[in-house]
Amino acid sequence: MDFNDTPEEAAYRAEVKAWLEANAPKVHAGGDDGEGGGSMAASKAWQAKKAAAGYAQITWPKEWGGAGGTPIQQVIFSQEEAKHPVPGNPFQIGLGMCVPTVATFADQATKDRFVGPALRGEEIWCQLFSEPSGGSDVAAARTKAVPAPDGSGDWLISGQKVWTTGAQFSDFGIVVCRTDPDAPKHKGLTMFWVDMHDPGIEVKPIHQMSGGSGFNEVFFTDVRVKDSQRVGALNDGWKVSLVTLMNERLAVGGASGAGWREFMEAARATPGLDGAPALKDQALREKLADWYVQAEGLKHTRNRTMTALSRGQTPGPESSIGKIVSALQMQDLGNTAVEMLDQFGIINDPELAPLHAAFHTGVMFAPGLRIAGGTDEILKNIIAERVLGLPGDIRVDKDVAFKDMPTGR
């Protein structure tokens, strides 16, 4: 047990460090902030530079423009890259999920067309899965694709997607559509790729309860796609989407923002019940200890995951606990900090509230984090079923034609 690179990893880290030193930006360009703001140009320029040097997707095969590297090399690069003021990365959904899905099922010409531009940051992709009628239940998609009446073999897509990250600046997307409403729901779906610039596609930002607009609604009205834009076999879209979602598992997610350190600083500066700093309050000290222990537990869980990668093993299921713990902590820690301020806690003006209202931001953003990318409840189901091997829920929708399924709102 140690915290050292193997000799090969140390050599790779040195190489990466030198390259970043020579090539990474020296000042923050205010790249994409994930909400479509910031400087997209800076993000694209940095992505192109990484692609030219083989660092854009290190684990991709060389024929795709990757480096044919190992997951631990990708981790090392990301660790070193994070030490530089590089711009935001709006390409990850495309490179991590959409493009690998398309490439898995597409012919050579399609791969040649899309892989390179995506890798170089010239084209951005989004993933169009969730719908108003199905968030956790992705297979309940109602957006339909029907054969064009002109007999051309083309398809016409109509319907609505929701919670689509980056749709407003995406060039392409992959979309799950209902192609056979007479089949049970998992068996009547087909995946297509679409050009997001099509006039039949309308993107509307969602105004979140937290105030921001990081996600979109996407409306499809008779969007015509060629049959060659089909990804995978007809009515095989569920299987195809599982490939996408498996790639999603590799993306490491979790809460950022104010944590135990920030709480401790704020508690030091805030008067407590008897006028002494709130940090002397025993109830708050116990909570602070709990959050520290959780944060350390997650940090060292990541260390265990990386150890498995370093040893060439598949990481164990322990990596699945991150978001459940961190999202709930963001909510609890944020709210405890706000309550610590007593009546003053209602104020979230960044000029007045501690740490530019970072705790208030956590309180307002945490409900979204507990839902996005798998709700707390779905993630617990996943742990119970895939990690512990407990049975799936009793299903009432498996053998019923989709069109006959009861629907609520």
Partner: protein, 374 residues
């Protein structure tokens, strides 16, 4: 964050596997019940002897003192298996507390006298700090030492009824020190206490002018005890992780075979989410324990923080897993015949023996305050 090699090595995993096999054969829950159900039986002597023969008592003791000289990671691996098996032996008292204290603060003579005896299983040790309700502090301490004679009352002292030697926290000239007392000698009376976990005995020790030898510097008692408790907390955390994982396994196995309303109860989300919560807490505890193991093995400056985090996470995880394991079993889980209560009881014993979680939370935050102020 640097890259890491943050798991047991293949050799350590092999040792752990062998330990599990050995305990599955020699420490069944029937054996644990042999101690639990017999008020006259303080520990499983045959198991204690067998464990000594395996060399486990001296796993972290240097070869020069009769140990195997393996290291603390190996001891952590063994501890996890002992916890999983709810082993009814004075392993923690003797190895995590007394041997660690002597290795940490003892002089050459003390090491040469005690460590080989521990490694050979010839001696049982115990740690005597508590004097009654609430944590023992420098201010609260009433036991005293005068002219090499120790007097006072200590309770509870885990394994105090069977130990040959006690390390006793006491004041000399008004300052706390740690003293070694030979319990089979004069001036010592012992009284067995009734506790939540009868598979691990505890006693009230009354000292009247018992000959005592100081361990470490005069006046350094609290500091030494803190360091010893840090080391013990990390090792205990592995026992707790082992127990907590076993509880999750028991709950899962039962949930998969028990039917209610026409289907296995493991198919209800109320049960699935409960078990998922156990899993999350167990993994957080394991990750913190691993960091503790690394700190212990390298004698890192972060040891107090790592020990606190490991202690808090593992105590919480074992308690949660033990109580929700009973809940998952339903009525049968509340019977004496089911093994659930062995773990429930042990979770209380392990969760309190080195100090309650809230004491460790306070220690942790105090350390963070000092570190941030520095």
């Amino acid at each position: 964050m640097a890259h890491v090699n943050f798991d047991f090595s293949d050799d350590q995993k092999f040792l752990k596997g062998e330990a599990r096999k050995f305990l599955e054969a020699n420490c069944t829950t029937a054996r644990v019940r042999g101690v639990l159900d017999d008020a006259g039986k303080a520990y499983d002597e045959a198991l204690w002897k067998a464990v000594a023969e395996q060399g486990w008592l001296g796993a972290a003791i240097p070869e020069a003192y009769g140990g195997l000289g393996l290291g603390h990671l190996e001891l952590c691996a063994i501890a996890e298996e002992l916890g999983r098996a709810v082993a009814p032996i004075p392993f923690a008292s003797t190895v995590y507390f007394v041997a660690e204290a002597v290795m940490l603060a003892g002089d050459e003579e003390q090491k040469a006298w005690l460590l080989p005896k521990v490694a050979a299983g010839e001696i049982i040790g115990c740690m005597a700090t508590s004097e009654g309700p609430g944590p023992a502090t420098a201010a609260s301490l009433k036991t005293t030492v005068t002219d090499g004679k120790l007097s006072g009352v200590k309770l509870p002292v885990t394994d105090g009824d069977i130990a040959n030697v006690a390390l006793v926290l006491a004041k000399e000239n008004g300052k706390p020190g740690l003293y070694s007392v030979y319990l089979d000698g004069e001036g010592v009376t012992r009284e067995v206490l009734q506790t939540l976990d009868p598979s691990r005995d505890a006693a009230k020790l009354t000292f009247k002018n018992a000959p005592a030898i100081r361990l470490g510097e005069a006046g350094a008692g609290m500091e030494i005890v803190e360091q010893v408790f840090d080391r013990a907390a990390i090792l205990l955390a592995f026992e707790q992780c082992g127990g907590a994982d076993r509880c999750l396994e028991m709950a899962k196995a039962y949930a998969l075979e028990r039917y209610a309303f026409g289907r296995v109860i493991a198919s209800y989300q109320a049960i699935k989410h409960k078990l998922a919560d156990m899993y999350v807490k167990n993994e957080l505890a394991r990750s913190n324990a691993y960091y503790g193991a690394w700190a212990l093995n390298t004698n890192a400056a972060e040891t107090p923080l790592a020990a606190s985090a490991a202690r808090i996470a593992a105590s919480e995880a074992f308690w949660f897993a033990a109580k929700e394991n009973i809940q998952t079993h339903g009525g049968i889980g509340f019977t004496w015949e089911m093994d659930c209560h062995l773990y429930y009881r042990r979770s209380r014993q392990l969760g309190l023996v080195a100090g309650a979680p809230r004491v460790w939370k306070e220690r942790l935050v105090s350390h963070l305050e000092r570190r941030n102020a520095a």
